[in-house]
Amino acid sequence: MTTTPDARPTTAFEKTPHATISRYSAMEALGRRLDDALVILSLGGAVDEWYNAAPHMREASLFQQQLGCVTGEALGLAVGLPHRRIVSLDTDGGLLFNLGILATVGNEQPANLFIVVWDNEQYQSIGGPATHTASGRVDLAAIARGCGVEHAYTVDTLEAFDEHCAAGLAADVPYLVVVKTDGILQPGIKRKHSDGREDKYIFVRHVEETEGIVIMGPSEHN
């Protein structure tokens, strides 16, 4: 058993001290900067928190429960709608599931993709076992920079996060911010009770309306 400050927790669900920001407060700050962007987000507590923290973005957000899919889907959306700002709300567990997407983002250099990684150093939705970032050794922003995502940062204050949101949403290169969040689920918020299929239709109809296109149209013969 090690006793160094950066060591993996000695018990499975013990929280490490690297994370400090309230994720809900960070979401509120990001939400205040969003208007016509499209958002794809990951699973777990972040779903209900985003649903409440940015209610004006509900129809513009694709609520997923898909570990490892989120930034990939956001890249596909960014490629398909190059004139539109796309925001990926990924997580430490979700991004670690498929780090290769960082290499693909680095090579593709989408000009309209802003990636936020909520890093609470745990698999929160199953009770909080540590992810690899809890060790203090695994640096997701450094991995992203090594993959060619030059603008990749880690923040541990709300003020710094807000500044990176302003920069990332205005950037013409892919931009990634790892946010060290405290892992405290916002108490008293409303649960989102729709499933992924309903959420997809809400999102697709919003894209259709705001883009003036048809994605899931009528059959040839009705």
Partner: protein
């Protein structure tokens, strides 16, 4: 692949309205990838694994454009998690074009699992597919599968084998 088969794939993709292709290169399709990269009407995205490619293709669908995931059939196993969550969970479709490694006639021991697992995995994912072994059937198979996916909002696949990839 023979050039006429490469041309048939490209024609099929265009007829199906596909403008984005995600791929992880393999040897049976090695002549296809440069042709896709060079085509001005097709945006190619090379990925690090096929699950990632499925996710990107799903995102392209959500933008109103059409995508294909091109890979060896071993990539189907790598993308099962992503395909199941997107397809069975939300109804986000991915059209797949695969080389059929491990079909009868295969002479590489390492490719045998690809042939044995491909059709059961597709069946487990409730994914309809067509195995094409003659070049003159490629174009229509691609159009049919892509059309079905954009009607059912679910995955479909075309696997190319036989004379096409020998």
């Amino acid at each position: 692949m023979q050039q006429h088969a490469v041309d048939a794939v490209v024609r099929g993709l265009k007829r199906a309205g596909i403008s984005v292709v995600c791929y992880l290169p393999d040897s049976l399709f090695k002549e296809l990838y440069p042709a896709l990269d060079a085509d001005p009407e097709i945006r190619t995205i090379q990925v690090t694994n096929e699950g990632e490619g499925a996710a990107i293709a799903g995102g392209v669908f959500l933008s109103g454009k059409r995508a294909a995931l091109v890979m060896e059939n071993s990539g189907l196993r790598a993308s099962v998690e992503h395909l199941a969550r997107m397809g069975l969970g939300a109804g986000i479709p991915v059209f797949m074009l695969m080389s059929y490694r491990g079909d009868l006639g295969e002479n590489n021991w390492w490719a045998i699992p690809h042939g044995i697992t491909m059709e059961p995995v597709l069946d487990a994912l409730r994914t309809p597919y067509r195995v094409v072994r003659h070049a003159d059937e490629i174009e229509q198979a691609i159009v049919d599968a892509s059309t079905w996916s954009h009607t059912a909002y679910y995955h479909s696949a075309v696997a190319l084998s036989g004379e096409i990839v020998r």
